[in-house]
């Protein structure tokens, strides 16, 4: 294994957690974008119902 390849592999190792977390974060972001506004609207109704003005 030459030095350049070893260096590349070494750098890649530190990015593995980011690569692993990326799909989970993407799924979370999708969920927020897809259901976030609906949940926000529901919460708004609930807050108006129980909070004293």
């Amino acid at each position: 294994m030459n030095t350049e390849n070893k260096k590349k592999e070494g750098i890649g190792l530190w990015f593995l957690p980011l690569v692993t977390a990326a799909p989970i974060l993407a799924a979370g972001a999708f969920g927020i974008l897809r259901f976030g506004p609906k949940i926000h609207k529901l919460l708004n109704i609930l807050i108006k119902l129980v909070v004293k003005a």
Partner: protein, 295 residues
């Protein structure tokens, strides 16, 4: 291929270990964020802690004093005398009782009797003002307005709506059972995480240092997701929706989210540090083995 990988694990084992590591990261982050949500819903200690928040008590005290000044100007009683009957300790106690009522409702489905502000001392001052004929309104109305104002400042929610809603929910479903089940959910996530960690160990059991790469990746990834969730909590903390509805409630939720974000953030940082520590150990061992094989 390095010495560590060449000795034992086959390509299929490594692919399975990667899948297990990904699942471990997913289950672990869902478990931690789920624990945060469960804590927010069911932890009496957390709500009692928020109820004793000094900043919140200061704000409530100031608001009550301002409202008393306004009401005194409107109804014609001595604001200073009424203010003298309200102490921070009593406010703290009322906050504690409200938090107990609230958490009782959330954890047991039943909150008991809603706490009321003791108006004994206020009554005497208002009746004296009524005798001196300085009051512009009926004494009973003034007393009830004062009590309502103090209670609304401490607990700005409609307790009758909440009690009625929770009674309806109790009639429709076994709320205690559901709450117990919700409390167990993070445990299920933790069990799934342990199963994934065990699977990695089974697949790479012969290569302890190689498994560090997978454990490290999974732990650090779970930490990154947890920290992203923590940012989400902080975004919710600054959401204007509650502020529009009630400044007091927004303040209480800011204190609650602040405490939740702190705990979750610390766990996230710990996971990232533990993960990268595993990766560092793996990297050092690998370097040593590569150097040894080249020599």
């Amino acid at each position: 291929m390095s010495g560590i990988q060449a000795r034992g694990a086959t390509k299929a084992e490594r692919v399975c270990a990667w899948i297990a590591a990904f699942l471990l990261a997913a289950f672990l982050s869902v478990t931690i964020l789920g624990m945060t949500a469960v804590q927010m819903i069911t932890s009496a200690g957390l709500h009692l802690n928020v109820a004793a928040d000094e900043g919140m008590l200061d704000r409530q005290y100031r608001q009550i004093c301002d409202n008393i000044d306004e009401m005194a100007a409107e109804y014609g009683f001595s604001a200073e005398n009424v203010k003298a009957t309200i102490s921070r300790d009593e406010l703290k106690e009322m906050n504690r009782k409200s938090a107990e009522w609230w958490t009782g409702l959330l954890t047991e489905g039943e909150g008991g009797v809603f706490p009321r502000w003791n108006i004994g001392a206020i009554q005497d001052i208002i009746y004296t003002a009524a005798e001196e004929k300085t009051l512009t309104e009926d004494a009973q109305n003034v007393i009830s307005d004062l009590r309502e104002m103090i209670e609304d400042t401490v607990f700005p929610l409609r307790e009758t709506t909440i009690t009625f809603g929770s009674k309806m929910a109790r009639d429709m479903a076994d709320i205690r059972g559901i709450i117990r089940a919700v409390r167990q959910l993070p445990m299920l996530g933790l069990a799934a995480s342990l199963a994934c960690a065990g699977l990695i160990m089974l697949l790479l059991g012969r290569e302890i240092f190689l498994s560090l790469k997978y454990y490290g990746t999974a732990l650090a990834a779970a930490g990154i997701v947890t920290l992203a969730g923590c940012i989400g909590i902080l975004v919710m903390k600054s959401d204007g929706m509650l502020q529009e509805a009630s400044a007091g409630l927004a303040e209480e939720f800011r204190a609650l989210f602040g405490k939740l974000a702190l705990g979750t953030g610390l766990v996230g940082i710990l996971l990232v540090v533990a993960g990268y520590l595993c990766l560092f150990c793996f990297s050092r061992k690998k370097k040593r083995e590569t150097a040894g094989s080249e020599a």
